[in-house]
Symmetry: C2
Subunit: 147 residues, 2 copies
């Protein structure tokens, strides 16, 4: 039977390792793409959130419309975002990732996936099954939590 302490400890160790890795992942993504952290976060929001307007992005990121507009403008010029007029409301813009923009994010996700996959290489089949089950459980729980 699992003591609460064991669970906490395991999670804490894991958190340290993966926080560190996350930092490096982002840093590398920034260096390779030449984008800033804010810009990558912006792309990730679009990647997960689908279509969105300028002020929607600004709100999600906690910045002013002006800042969002400027940042988006740069990303449009880089060919990572497509910005079109909303036919329903011609004041608004619809923002969607271009194929190139999507590729940038998926590449990052893929890099992390491959890293984890590498970690499982040395495990026994039983252990691998356990990892599959555990990660699936966690991912599901996380998706339920998302509002």
């Amino acid at each position: 039977m699992s003591s609460n302490r064991e669970l906490t400890d395991a999670i804490h160790k894991w958190s340290e390792v993966f926080m560190r890795r996350s930092g490096r992942d982002f840093k590398r993504c920034m260096d390779e793409s030449g984008l800033s952290f804010s810009q990558i976060i912006l792309l990730m929001r679009l990647y997960h959130g689908g279509k969105s307007g300028v002020s929607g992005i600004g709100e999600q990121l906690g910045i002013t419309n002006a800042a969002a507009s400027q940042s988006i403008d740069r990303l449009v010029n880089l060919g990572l975002i497509e910005r079109t007029e909303d036919p329903e409301d011609r004041r608004a813009k619809q923002l969607v990732l271009t194929r190139q923009g999507q590729a940038l994010i998926t590449k990052s996700v893929k890099a992390r996936s491959q890293w984890v996959e590498g970690l499982t290489k040395a495990l026994t089949p039983e252990q691998q099954n356990m990892v599959i089950a555990a990660l699936t459980l966690l991912a599901q729980a996380a998706q339920v939590t998302e509002e």
Copy 2:
């Protein structure tokens, strides 16, 4: 028996969820502390790497000594880093996190730990044991991989 496909899929789903979460974690950490991404990365390097010099940091972060020096200077002024003369080589400086600097990073790690712990709340004891075992395996594998 686990097919390779299952493993890859599970890891991919997990990666998406956690990449997204990582982004938000960093963003929140930046907003709360008022620090930039670079500065947090710098603190994390010191947190994990222990003592280090200015050029060591610059090298790890892929920036010039000048940039590292300036960034460190700001963090020293904020009371997050202690910068002292190396007694062995008086040209060099020893950089260590202050208690406040350490607290900033540990707070971030703790936030993530608590999030994951929250995810496990709804799981059965057996499932929790599995999560413990899986995360422990992954964390160990990751630490072995670190050079």
